[in-house]
């Protein structure tokens, strides 16, 4: 038997069931891997004691015959999910010292099903970013960076905002990790690090207890090394929650059971608008390969049009900051987190928020405040919400012609820390293929499909019909099998 942290989640579940090893042994292997990963700054808070106690309890449950679907599986939690009595920072200075007195619904569901928490992983501040370089707790370095840990010749970004989740899973230091995706924050880092990331349909996962960024766009989802592993984890994360008014009261399917490998006759939409100017030829070629792979498996490629694609990013950069400016109004130095005193209450607010928010978050709050302010609301916010309707209509029409849509995940491979930083718009363009999915509330996923000329991973994105994650995942598993992506990053714990 090899190192336990090299197993997939599905293999680990089998091994635990066959009593080849215990949850404590599996967890100890991952705690060791987490320590080896430290130079990459993937964690904000490691919780080895919590992990071992949960693993021990898991072994006891199993001994009594009560094993849940993720029994004994160590995972990392994005530090945007509130975890009871464990510091939750959203990677922001303004939440410094915050220990939630409650547990988010998604993490509660995971613990209910037997999962074990290794700790809280790094992210972009308030999940705002595409490179994990806006965290108050420092940049996350991708395990794909060349050179020795801590002495890299180039520090590659893991993508963002779920960069710590992606780095941890790619480095084999966790069997899976939770992510959240507002404009691509699960799929883009999954693509950049050669792992699988799934954003389910809006409403599938409860948002209760997840630090809010843009409430009409935020969705939690799993990140793991195989499609099957994400399917297993997604099932545990989903479910109706009366505490989230947008949570959908629908049965949760056994997503892993949908991975039959049979995609014969399924129609795969290829949107012509996703051929953007300046996209590297290798991404175009990989996309074409993806079409061929699915065709070889019996699927039928169909040309489709999503005419408003180019307006998705500008609409997103009104809607998301507007919702963020409202959501982040709660950080006032009075009830939790940082407080910077002032001569009166207004100064206390201004000083606290001036010191507590980083530059990217401040920029977005200011944009949001502006587009919602008197005299500008109709011109910006209302127009953006109308464009959003048109984007949704585009998808509705496309899904009359096809069952799933195939696109690249991102218009480039991962870049180096310090590159692309002078111009916020350049950074935003990373999410050009992922943002439309959030605006329309659809499920999307990234599957590792190849390696670029620079040796870094490339992902392909699948987009499904609302609440039809099963078809999307089934096609994803076929794509994964055909691509046969086996390349490991230079650093593996």
């Amino acid at each position: 038997m090899g190192a336990l942290n090299r197993l997939t989640m599905a293999e680990a579940i089998d091994g635990l069931a066959r009593k080849e090893f215990t949850a404590v042994e599996l967890t100890e292997a991952h705690i060791k891997a987490t320590e080896a990963l430290r130079p990459f700054n993937a964690y904000i808070t490691e919780t080895p004691e919590v992990a071992l106690a949960m693993a021990k309890a898991s072994d006891e449950r199993r001994a009594k015959g009560g094993a849940g679907p993720m029994e004994g599986i160590p995972i990392a939690v994005k530090d945007l999910f509130c975890t009871k009595d464990v510091q939750t920072t959203a990677a922001s200075h303004i939440l410094g010292g915050f220990k939630p007195p409650y547990e988010s619904t998604v993490t509660s569901n995971l613990w209910r099903d037997g999962a074990v928490m290794l700790g809280k992983v790094n992210l972009d501040e308030f999940a705002m970013g595409s490179a994990n370089i806006t965290s108050h707790h420092g940049d996350v370095v991708s395990p794909w960076s060349p050179g020795e840990p801590g002495n890299w010749s180039r520090r590659i970004v893991p993508g963002g905002s779920s960069g710590g989740s992606a780095a941890t899973v790619a480095a084999r230091a966790a069997l899976g990790a939770t992510g959240t995706d507002t404009g691509g924050s699960i799929r883009q880092p999954a693509g950049f690090t050669g792992i699988v990331g799934v954003k389910p349909t809006y409403g599938r996962c409860s948002r209760w207890g997840i630090v809010a960024f843009a409430s009409s766009l935020d969705q939690a989802g799993p990140m793991a090394r195989t499609v099957k592993d994400t399917a297993i984890m997604l099932r545990s994360m989903c479910g109706f929650d009366p505490k989230d008014s947008t949570s959908v009261d629908m049965p949760v399917p056994d997503f892993a059971a949908a991975l039959t490998g049979d995609i014969r006759g399924l129609r795969v939409g290829i949107p012509k608008e996703y051929r953007v100017d300046g996209m590297p030829a290798e991404i175009e070629a990989l996309w074409q390969k993806g079409v061929e792979w699915l065709k070889a498996a019996g699927a039928v490629p169909v040309d489709i049009s999503l005419p408003h694609t180019k307006y998705a990013l500008p609409a997103y950069y009104i809607v998301a900051p507007a919702e963020a400016s409202s959501n982040l109004a709660r950080y006032d130095g009075v009830r939790f987190g940082l407080r910077v005193e002032g001569g009166n209450l207004k100064e206390l607010y201004e000083n606290t928020r001036g010191a507590g928010f980083g530059k990217e978050v401040r920029r977005r709050i200011l944009i949001g405040t502006y587009v919602l302010s008197a005299g500008y609301y109709d011109a910006y916010y209302l127009q953006a919400q109308k464009v959003r309707t048109r984007i949704k209509w585009d998808f509705d029409q496309a899904f009359q012609l096809c069952d799933v849509i195939l696109t690249p995940t991102a218009p480039s491979t991962a870049f180096g820390i310090g590159e692309k930083m002078d111009d916020p718009i350049q950074m935003y363009l990373n999410d050009v293929f992922t943002v439309p999915v959030n605006l329309a509330g659809l499920p999307g996923m990234s599957v590792p499909a190849g390696v670029g000329a620079d040796g870094l991973p490339l992902g392909l994105q699948l987009i499904g019909r609302p609440f039809d994650e099963e078809t999307m995942l089934k096609v994803g598993a076929v794509l994964e099998q055909a691509a046969g992506f086996k390349t490991e990053p230079p650093f593996v714990a």
Partner: protein, 95 residues
């Protein structure tokens, strides 16, 4: 659309974020750049298009108006930077 320094200062005040005077110019440039980027939305014909209010076609659920939680004053106040006698403490607001 281009924002000047005074407008940025006004927005920052509305957002209750203290922005140092020397950062206003740079910030005005960045925000103007973002606003010019989003202005392409005006090209889209949205004449008879309703604004999106919800991605999922579902009505907001209702529940009975009854107390389902509470009695957790200590937990609520636990993270407060300054509390006293069951309250959050702020600088004096009434003269």
């Amino acid at each position: 659309m281009s924002l000047d320094k005074a407008t940025v200062a006004r927005i920052a005040h509305l957002a209750r974020i203290k922005v140092p005077e020397e950062e206003l110019d740079h910030l005005a440039g960045e925000l103007s750049q973002i606003l010019s980027f989003v202005e392409q939305l005006n090209e889209v014909d949205t004449g008879n298009v309703p604004p999106m209010t919800s991605v999922a076609a579902q009505k907001l659920r209702r529940r009975k108006d009854e107390v389902t939680d509470g009695g957790i004053q200590d937990a609520v106040l636990k993270n407060g930077p300054e509390t006293a006698e069951g309250f959050y403490v702020v600088p004096k607001v009434v003269e």
